[in-house]
Symmetry: C2
Subunit: 300 residues, 2 copies
């Protein structure tokens, strides 16, 4: 029986604000020790969406009182020039976190750039050393911001991860896999029973329908329907998709991977798009930068 | 309804023989190019079980015509002495694979030893670089031998992994996690929907009971019962546990993680213990050594 009530809305902006409040205290404490956490964001080319992301990261750094470096390079930047810049940032002691905005132009070997980062400054968590630390449950590593944000969102919303069955839709290197690895870790913020479901999965509704928490990160607009979840499940929507919409002045609207209208009537709690996971991703980037600064302060 | 028939026995010794037949051809081909794959196994101390493992690895190398080095060090070997030996093996061009027999004596920092291995010679697949390659689906990496053996056993037995729901019991770094990562990879030998179940999981019977393939790697004798699987499931038993048995001359018998007698009446195929996964683990060590030699021959 489906009740015609509305799920609790998990507001990522409010949770992100709580994260920032905690971070301000950490940053103030670091500053008393002479350390101002610094983040360098490298943008190659002038993709409008990437520029907007970089701008909002820079803005958030300033709001928090972090040292922020925005490195804007032309689309013609060569691989070796980019590697040289990364090397400079690796050696710059005022910079604790480095992020190369994705996607770079096609002639850039992104994996090689990630490998060139100092793993201790890899606040995106994509360097192989940090990937391995996530598997090996070494808490000194950096976890990619979106999965980390999903975990924090659940915890701050009072959703019990420990012992829950979590279905993760999608097996990307950026969200699905790291999230699965994070939530199955042997600690109180993990200990979930995790199923990774994907485009090739059979019996998808049966599997997601048995989960306490469903995280949709499959990149298909409104893919997850009410039939796919069980009554009272918690639903986290990582997707941001453009859907054609003639009624919109832009000709499209943004939609998540979840059919919000119907799923919100069956779930017990759900994130909106936008305003759910999105704000958490940038909050976790700030948190990773502060963590990097704290760890470097211990090391030196 | 449970039928009183017996599941097909998946005989790891027969599948391992097939692997060896394939490997012999690969080795012969490498030898025509002047490359004899070489494996070094390092044993510290004189634990009887470890000695037996090392002996069987050495014996298999000789049977296949591989170059085999057995380095037996006293239990008093220091960390720095061991690191020095590892460094020598890293530089030895006749050695393509290095394995440090686990567990080393308590004063040895095993993780540091693993990190000291040349990742290209890490045929155990435990070096962080190889762990990351497994997540990132880079086929040049080495996958730990037991998970690799489980995958091969399934494939050679005609069990379809692609699209299947696989429940992996256990989330160890040696078996559970790498197996989950391997079977969820985006390729025809993967593409499974994988659930990692563990000691903290609620509703375990419900979850394993919905899986097409159940792999038990939880380290508890006869933990998985007939009630935990669905009629016709495929069951792979990774466990080797000692169970007290007064009737046995040794005072114990070996038991897997699966209650074989009852599960074999409900499963469609099942591995025995011993003679199931065990022979595959050593076969995959040989396969990884041949792969290491092949990759080094390409590089030089």
């Amino acid at each position: 029986m489906t009740h015609k009530r509305m799920a609790k809305l998990i507001d990522g902006r409010i949770v992100a604000e709580k994260v920032y409040t905690d971070l301000r205290a950490d940053i103030a404490e670091l500053k008393t020790r002479g350390v101002t956490p610094g983040l360098a964001v490298v943008l190659i080319g002038d993709d409008p969406a990437s520029r907007a992301y970089v701008r909002s990261k820079d803005k958030m750094c300033r709001e928090l009182g972090l040292h922020s470096v925005k490195l804007e390079l032309p689309a013609s930047t060569t691989q070796s020039e980019l590697l040289k810049r990364v090397g400079e940032l690796n050696r710059d002691s005022t910079i604790h976190g480095i992020l190369v905005q994705s996607p770079p132009p096609g002639h850039i070997d992104e994996a090689a750039i990630v490998r060139a980062l100092d793993p201790q400054k890899d606040v995106d968590g994509f360097h192989p050393e940090n990937v391995a630390k996530l598997v090996l449950e070494d808490a000194s590593g950096f976890v990619p911001c979106t999965p980390l944000g999903v975990q924090r969102l659940l915890l701050e919303s009072g959703v019990e991860i420990n012992g829950a069955h979590v279905a993760v839709l999608g097996r990307s290197m950026i969200v699905g896999k790291p999230l699965a690895l994070l939530l199955m870790q042997k600690n109180k913020n993990g200990n979930a029973t995790v199923t990774v479901v994907h485009s090739r999965s059979r019996d998808l509704p049966q599997i997601t329908g048995s989960a306490d928490i469903v995280v949709a990160a499959i990149g298909r607009a409104e893919f997850l329907k009410a039939d796919h979840i069980r009554e009272g499940a918690v639903v986290i929507d990582v997707g941001i998709n453009r859907v054609e919409d003639a009624a919109s002045p832009r000709g499209y609207r943004l939609a998540g991977d979840v059919a919000f209208d119907e799923v919100s009537k069956k779930a017990t709690a759900i994130t909106p798009v936008p305003g759910g996971v999105g704000p958490m991703t940038i909050a976790m980037l700030m948190a990773n930068t502060v963590k990097a600064a704290r760890q470097s302060a211990v090391h030196t």
